[in-house]
């Protein structure tokens, strides 16, 4: 079984493995990572619908030569709260972490209220605070509109 998996996704020398992504969310994860910003020597491997004991099915994303920023982690926790992140250096896992909901989510989502002051060209970043943890509900700190549907409000 292990051999089969290795064939699906090649090991990377340096970079990040995002595992346990809810099935079907891999492409959204790529969007968060902003592939255009990556160097041309970065290989990105995506596995969709991989069998998982924990999730039934899951997606996996591996990105060479990239380590995630705090902003990536905040966004991941909104759309892939089950994700685990492994930092790979010289083919070895150097650090492993799960994503955790931060107290404030800044600059990642756009407010769903088109008339919110954060959507009308002011020199400010969108900002949300956690209104509820289950289900995760964020509240715009400006207009107080609540958001639960994060996928549709991710900044492009």
């Amino acid at each position: 079984m292990g051999t089969v998996r290795e064939l699906k996704i090649q090991p990377i020398r340096n970079g990040t493995v995002i595992d346990h992504i809810p099935n079907g969310r891999a492409l959204d994860v790529l969007r968060i990572l902003g592939l255009r910003a990556l160097g041309s020597d970065s290989t990105v491997s995506v596995a969709i619908r991989v069998r998982s004991d924990k999730l039934g099915y899951k997606d996996i994303v591996k990105v060479e030569n990239m380590e995630l920023t705090a902003r990536h982690l905040d966004a991941l926790c909104l759309i892939a709260p089950s994700a685990t992140i492994s930092i790979i250096r010289d083919f070895k896992v150097r650090d492993k972490r799960v994503v955790d909901l931060p107290a404030a989510v800044t600059g990642i989502l756009t407010c769903p209220n088109p008339s919110c002051i954060s959507n009308v060209g002011e020199p400010i970043e969108s900002e949300f605070e956690v209104a509820r943890r289950r289900p995760v509900t964020l509240r715009c700190v400006y207009c107080e509109r609540q958001v639960v549907d994060f996928l549709h409000h991710l900044r492009g």
């Binding site: 002051i117 060209g121 400006y142 207009c143 107080e144 609540q146």
Partner: protein, 310 residues
Amino acid sequence: MSLKGRDIVSIRDLSREEIDEILAAARRMIPYAEGTRSSGSLSGRIVVLAFFEPSTRTRLSFDAAAQRLGGRSLTIADASESSLRKGESLNDTIRMLAHYGDAIVLRHPNEGAARLAAMVSDRPVLNAGDGAGQHPTQTLVDLATIRESFGTLAGLRIVLLGDLRHGRTVHSLARALAIYGSAIRTVSPPGLSLPPEVAEQVVELGGEIQEEASLAKAVRDADVLYVTRLQKERFLDPAEYAQVAGSYRVDAAALQGARDRLVVMHPLPRTGEIAPELDATPRAAYFRQAFLAVPVRMALLGLVLNGKVP
């Protein structure tokens, strides 16, 4: 606990104790608002009234409040005469205004504008209405009116009637009433009911809320009937507005089954929702409500600028 230097952006920012403090201060301000006592406690202070959306009573009552306490005001009463029109950001406008006065009272068409202003201003910001968002000083006026009528805010039955979807005053009011443990009943035309998140908040705060189809049934054992107008300017589709225009009206006949103590409130301006025949009856609390705007706003200015009122 002091409100000195505080921003008043949303009723959510205020604890029950702070609301009580503001209402108690407002009660003490009544003779000053009536002009039977005078005070110079805001002498030398400038209140900036930055109104980027039309308003008559909110702006004038803040102006009256500042002047009754010996303060002065600077007014932007029309967005077209301001630098916002020239493309300046609110962010920059507020930074500038914070240098001109000691407190900023802001009305703005975009939701969240007052929060942004409070973040960038080192002077207290009082939200006088941000789009369809918050209007906390109106809520305080409403609470002051109810408390004056019944001596309490707890254990009352309050009916909210009208455009509960767009009416910003009822959103904040529902929340505040929940904090005090009053029961809310809502009556609204189709499609204009209270947004679910507001109803959820009321329940989370331990309040009771129930939707009622019949106004006659809703007012039967109620203490307050709070009426709002259709917020015509917030309808995106004129056809949708035409469908509900004139769909509710409160007159003597509509209140026949109500208790004697029931009072009718309205944040004004009214556009036909309340028949003038009620004006001269003891039920009409809306003109008193309009007057109480002055002492409540005097209390707020006194508390955020001086930490106290005379």
